[in-house]
Amino acid sequence: MIDRALIGQQLAEFVFAVEEFQLRLFAKAIGECRPEYIDAAAAKAAGFRSILAPPTFCYAITLNPANPLDVPAFLGVDVKDTLHGEQAFSYQRPICAGDRVRVKRMVTDIYSRKAGALEFAVVESELSDAGSGVIYASTTTTLAIRHPECAP
């Protein structure tokens, strides 16, 4: 069982540098070929600071570049027992290439279902500008953790 004392605790904070290279690769992976998502000049002509990050790139920003699997490690669970259960986004302003995003993450809930055979851990993240502190977006990730040994 995941330690409930983790509720309310913050994970390692970091600053994520949003780079053109990664946004182009992300766009390629999802078959996104509209110019504002791959071309800086086109994005600027469309009124953005630079290449626009697609809506779900905010989740990629919440992955710690120094250790993308630090959430399961923080919870003390094996990544092979975890599944992405739910994901939510709330947006304040667009994120573009060149932005430096401060990521603050906190475990906000942990709960059990099916007599403990399934646990859920909720991590909320706040994405803000590393310089000005202005909020870009917030995300909520719900991980499902299987404990087959606890199956009723």
Partner: protein
């Protein structure tokens, strides 16, 4: 691949029925590798069949967030990205290589909150028509005007 056309807000809120669909090419391992690199999600079960088998998965599975990224692309093809206020999905099944993912949307309602005119769209990603073929389902809140 050709993008869907943007739907003007007045038409969107008048729709009251299913919105256009976005059909993706069959999911392949190449795409999973690109997505792992582009998203920074290096979980091995999306990339390495040996590690996937060790974990009892049989074969690699697709990233749930790749499915949601397709839904995000779908949303931004029919409305401006800046109009998306918030959205969430629940993942229902894991995708597999060969899955033919389709994104669907339905206009649900208009409402007002905090002085803003908003509408709710439901979004679903499927790989077929069976009961286990819904990969992700959720809803988006879109700003009107």
């Amino acid at each position: 691949m050709k993008s869907l056309a943007k739907i003007p807000m007045e038409k969107l809120v008048a729709a009251g029925h299913a919105l256009p669909e976005l059909e993706l090419p069959p999911l392949d391992r190449f795409t999973l590798a690109l997505y792992a690199a582009g998203s920074g999600d290096h979980t091995p079960f999306h990339l390495d069949i040996d590690r996937a088998k060790e974990a009892g998965l049989g074969d690699v599975i697709g990233h749930g967030m790749l499915t949601m990224a397709y839904l995000g692309r779908y949303l931004t093809e029919i409305v401006d990205q800046s109009a998306i206020k918030s959205w969430h999905v629940r993942f229902k099944a894991v995708s597999r290589p060969g899955d033919r993912i389709r994104c669907h949307g339905t206009f649900v309602r208009t409402f007002e909150e905090g002085g803003e005119q908003l509408c709710q769209l439901d979004v679903v990603a499927t790989r077929g028509t069976g009961p286990d073929d819904v990969l992700a389902a959720g809803e988006a809140v879109i700003k009107i005007g």
